[in-house]
Symmetry: C3
Subunit: 430 residues, 3 copies
């Protein structure tokens, strides 16, 4: 697995499989989605948090089940049907089965005046109401009614479901990677994050050595993350050294990031570095945040976590509409998103700091690392190696050594590898 | 009381009342001045430090009493008379009653060659001598003499007098405000500081809530401040969080400040901010200091205290002459000086740092602080509030929050007020 | 002793005396050199480290003794003779006495293609081989042979020899000064360092007061410094506050420096300051280092030591050839090098930080340091003194005080001297 075209196709296929599942904050749509992801990453464990559980300032709401929903016009035609597109119903709508006039119906309709053919995405999690989302063109053609309005939905005590796993590395220092699984039929926001995260899980399972342990988390946005902090906050604060929120990461437009609240953690620095080589990449302000970094980076939680995106939520025209579909998200787009995430992870893994294993300079000669005859100019031959060694003082990582010595990171990596083989440097323990 | 025109008139009236009192380093002029101020701020306590008391590197000098002084020419005319202007006698002059020639008199005369009608202000506190100050024009018209020279003055053991009070607030953290009361008939330097300080005292007595306790200090300059440090230094070092020296604060020219020796204390920052909105304000260097901040900010004392001035001592043409009078100092000038000082105090009082009272984001919905229906754009509606909350991490005050969020301090203050009402933030204890 | 022309002549005479001694990494040449230096600085103690001693990552090699070496051509002419120039033999050559063809001889010859008349300097300390160095012109004229090749040299267990002394000052804080004594017939690299170091030793012995103790070290380069760290490293880490490596310090070209690895130690700052007043001075990077600062500044050793040079090793055309002789190194060149080193030392000695000995301002009047009559302008007269005093807070040295007050270091030094006489300031204990 890597950020290749092939992996892009796999991820796109997963997204197509997940497309029709009616996800929401809670319920079977979330469970079905997690079950699919478990087949990709068997380590995923699903956790149920019962309705009514107090999670920090919040309370786990009732579970929402929807079985069908439609509007029939006076001709008996289903002019809007949830079976066609699961955006058609306002998330967490109450059940309704009633005949009403256009005027009565009107306050329950949501459409976009500036994009006549798109269906908007609307939820009402914390105030009980019902509603339909539809394209403005369909709305305008509805006629006067009467309409039969039917939503077969139920709110009842249940639970909120999230999935997570810890893929253990050599140390118990953790990297937290998260995305969210509460959005119905939209692709960039948000099937792209969950499938890229699954691909990362597959890659981590097979890659040879990892310094860090990786905590992968798929939660319903906001309350899921809050429930996660409520349950695991102390552990996270003690163990998480870096992390990324993956969201809106599957379209083909330019990359972007939101730094952590603290703004200069290792994740921020690495993400900045990685995006610097991508054309037109944007760094947004933490003020522009909008996903689960709101919880991971809340004051007092303050995990060192950045967000990686392509077109950021709120900024692209298809956002939170039916236009955010699997033509906007492409295999190439997903592959690029995965590639950036993996590059960040690899940069983090490589961010070892070395220290010299000997006091003063080592005798390179008896290790066959020094020209045996000294003449004018010969000192230059080992200069790079000695310069790298001179800064192996426990405080420089690969990039730091490159900056200090004026060498490229690749040359430094070669030299470090020689120095490690000769047992002249050793990584600083975490 | 506030920095209004009316208060300006009050302060100017006080200054006129105090004008003729013959102040010096010690003596009844200081006591009478403090007694007047006590009527304005009853909390003021007068303290006597006996002559001969060792105060740090200094010793309290003899008290100086003057009852009259004049020069009579050979026609019996009093060509110079202390009764006309108390600047006419060199401060701390010894008594003299003698007839002498112009040549004998000459070394005891002080006038200004570059301002023919102004009387200079001269003192000789620590070397016993006598002298008269007069306008150069009068000096040039003196004639050859002989002159009868009379100073009815006395040096005798007594005490140095200062006044101070502590107007208590909610905490025992203190703000030190000081001015000096050793200058005779000059208005900007220095009746302006003492009367503005008295007006601050009146304002503090009546204002509803104060976080800080306010220590108001009226001392003879230099040795009075040194005596104050000798007596109260350890208490000040432990309790004073900020403070201001008020001097030359009653003319109508541009404002200025001298920062503390450390240069970046809260008082320095606030004064800079407040003066930034005044036209042509000047920040002098600590190297240009010249009043009691010399003691408050001495190495090892290092109180976090800045000076607030309008035309700084040493820099304005009327300085230390009879031209520094109550036409230079005006009600408007005093009102402006008070206004700046009160603004600094209010900024300091408002300099609360808040922290979030909940972990992660609060649920705004059940508090009626969040739109119940989520649609494209609705997140923007609470964004400002959430951004302010995100930086309520215990390290940002109002201005810091404004800087971080890009909002104005007023908007931040509104939001903080809402968040406090909802018990979502709490001030960090001092 | 000072950096004068006369001292320059002395140093040059010492260098001429030392010229012909066949120095190498070990052996009697080193001992004889140290014995000569002991006559100049009697405190020098010679230390022998036996062959086979493990010193950090290294092992003291066999001692090398050479008694003679030459190449005879087929006419019996000694075309190359070590007696003429001790560069003619590769350092640490094995003994050989053999007749061979030109082809057999050729791999053992070293000459410079780009400087036909210069003899290069070549060593092979850690791989046993033999060789001759000669000018390219002589090499080209050698003919076909056969040649009789004779090196009367021996490797046998013995010891490595170094010299050092501690010239004690008022405190046990140390300044480490080092140069190296393993180079045969070359003048700038490296007779200049050892003789300038000897002149510093003479100067230190006679100068009146020194705050620091001075550790002067003459070692064979690299392994000698490593042996020194092995033996004295912990002491050095605890006691050395600053230091300099002196090398290539006797030619007349521009000065240069290599900073310590840490880059901003007091030695670095002082050297920078001192060189700033010399025309065309160069600060090289620590990456360009090449002498014993490689050991003194190794990670984990990290002594605060800079190098002072004129033409830096590796950078001047005569480097490591017979052209680096006592016409390149001159009395004037040596005197300049000594002057810079002494200026650095004196700057370090003067780098006292003062603190006020009184709380608040002192009473200057009773000390006769203040004008007794106060009039407009008189305050300016003592302003400089008071400003200097205001920053005597224990954290500013002479240069710091100058920076703070806007005065020149010389004026500050005058003022400090007055303040010390009046017991108003005192140096902060080390």
């Amino acid at each position: 697995v890597s950020g290749s075209r092939d992996t892009g196709e796999h991820m796109h296929a997963w997204a197509r499989d997940l497309w029709a599942i009616p996800r929401s904050l809670t319920g079977d749509g979330v469970r079905e989605t997690l079950k699919y992801l478990q087949r990709l990453v068997p380590e995923i464990e699903c956790v149920e948090v019962p309705t009514g559980t107090r999670v920090l300032d919040w309370e786990i709401p009732d579970e929402w089940e929807i079985r069908g929903a439609w509007i029939e016009d006076d001709q008996g035609r289903r002019v809007v049907d949830w079976a066609d597109n699961n955006l058609h119903v306002v998330g967490y709508s109450t059940g309704v089965d009633s005949v009403m006039s256009r005027d009565e119906l009107e306050p329950h309709l949501h459409s976009l005046h500036d994009d006549l053919d798109a269906i908007p995405y609307v939820t009402s999690y914390y105030k009980r109401t019902w509603g339909f989302c539809l394209s403005h063109r369909v709305r305008e053609a509805l006629g006067a009614g009467p309409f039969r309005v039917h939503i077969d939905a139920e709110h009842r005590p249940g639970s909120l479901t999230y999935g997570h796993c810890l893929i253990e590395g050599e140390t118990d220092r953790e990297v937290l990677l998260s995305s969210y699984i509460c959005h119905p039929g939209m692709a960039n926001n948000e099937l792209s994050g969950p499938v890229v995260l699954a691909a990362i899980g597959q890659w981590l399972r097979t890659c040879r050595r990892r310094r860090y342990s990786y905590r992968l988390v798929w939660v319903p946005e906001t309350i899921g993350a809050i429930a996660y902090v409520a349950e695991h906050g102390n552990h996270l604060k003690e163990h998480v050294d870096a992390g990324w929120v993956l969201t809106c990461i599957g379209d083909e437009r330019a990359y972007s990031m939101v730094p952590s609240r603290l703004g200069d953690t290792v994740a921020d620095r690495i993400t900045r570095d990685v995006l610097a080589s991508r054309p037109n990449a944007t760094e947004y302000s933490f003020l522009d945040r909008g996903s689960d970094e709101r919880q991971w980076c809340a004051p007092g939680v303050d995990l060192p976590i950045a967000s990686i995106m392509r077109s950021k939520y709120h900024t692209y025209p298809e956002y939170h509409t039916s236009r955010d579909d699997l033509t906007l998200v492409t295999p190439l787009g997903l592959a690029g998103g995965l590639e950036v995430a993996l590059e960040c992870i690899q940069r983090l893994e490589r961010e070892t700091r070395w220290r010299s294993a000997v006091d003063c300079e080592p005798q390179l000669g008896r290790r066959g690392m020094y020209p045996t005859t000294s003449y004018r100019g010969s000192a230059d031959a080992v200069r790079d190696l000695m310069n790298v060694l001179a800064y192996c003082d426990g405080s420089h990582d690969l990039n730091g050594l490159a900056r200090r010595t004026g060498l490229t990171p690749d040359i430094v990596a070669d030299i470090i590898s020689k120095l490690e083989d000769a047992q002249l440097v050793e990584p600083v323990p975490n």
